[in-house]
Symmetry: C2
Subunit: 203 residues, 2 copies
Amino acid sequence: MPLNDSNPTTRGRPKTLGRDHVLKTALMCYWAGSPTDVPISEICDKAGASKPGLYREFGSDDGLKEAVLDVYTEMVSKRRYDILASDQPFDEVLEALITHTIQDRQTAGVPNGCLLFAMRARREEFGPLTARKIDQLRENSLEQYRQWIDRAKTNRQFRSDIPTDVAALYFDAQTGSAMRLQKEGVSNVVIGEILRTAFSALR
Amino acid sequence: MPLNDSNPTTRGRPKTLGRDHVLKTALMCYWAGSPTDVPISEICDKAGASKPGLYREFGSDDGLKEAVLDVYTEMVSKRRYDILASDQPFDEVLEALITHTIQDRQTAGVPNGCLLFAMRARREEFGPLTARKIDQLRENSLEQYRQWIDRAKTNRQFRSDIPTDVAALYFDAQTGSAMRLQKEGVSNVVIGEILRTAFSALR
DNA sequence: CAAATTACGTACCTATAGTTACGTAATTAA
DNA sequence: TTAATTACGTAACTATAGGTACGTAATTTG
């Protein structure tokens, strides 16, 4: 129950900790590095906040990471869901997905790779709140794929001999590979070739 | 310069620490869990060794992990290299790779997933020895794929319009995805379908 | 036997990271 | 102005994990 600025009850010392600023700082630290290897104190330093301030706001390391995942969903993942939810032809959506996946991160001002995939790979190393959030976001993601695939099947734009849930796993896995390769420094051009090859198997 | 049992110089108190036993214990701990989250002390307990014993033998946490990677290569990865190096037709090698990848781990008595891919995903979290070893093993792996692909190209069993190094990355990425899905609990049957789909794109 | 050599393992050291106790500051309500 | 309220941040506390000092045990050599 963190109180926002626009709260009717305005008694006591005003809050100076910028929740959003802290979240974005943590997000970038986790995204650019290893999410399990960024100490709270580093986030505090970079965000110009105090440790007790963070704990008051997020309760724990686990709570902070959970909150960061929500921000990431809102800031990053949502764009992908919009693409999947569009009513364009299947092949155009596919192409939009590839383009979106390999867009230049330097230009966009964000790190390479995907925080969600990075955190999924380390799922066991997080606390219960973060772990549950990771599961939930992964399930959401698969569900978006499934709905897209089912729509495409209805419109006869996607072959019906591949079970929807397997196809969803396939898209998710390919995207995950792409994000990992990107983080390892493989060029987006090559990643694009790989994605196109992988997706061509579904025609 | 760890001395083996069959050493000519046999002075002083005989060594009781079982190097191989410690390595295998560590290997299984890392493989079954998160390689960055297994404390040395846990390996000592499970192997029945003392901490100073481990440090005498491996120098450091980093040194132990480096040594474990060599054991893993010898015990696990080599089988895959043998398959790639065989002179069977391309399609049969491909099928053998899939079969090998999705073989039941319970039966084989080993954990799900692949230690090498798990460690690659956490590359930044290891010391210099382990990090270099990871890079070296990954490069070895890609090289095996490349040689296999080039041979297949020569025999006209593989399309020539895909650059060899891109195809190698493709195989490596697909295998990595498979190992990750396996670790997450996806059934080997489904993983097999996914692999077959991914590889069908290369025909 | 004593000396030299090598390995053993208990009990510590140290650094780090998550977490919090507590005294203080800033604000509103009476 | 005083009380009540809320938030602030310094300076701890605690647990864990990598690493080691050092006294002891087991062996070969002379």
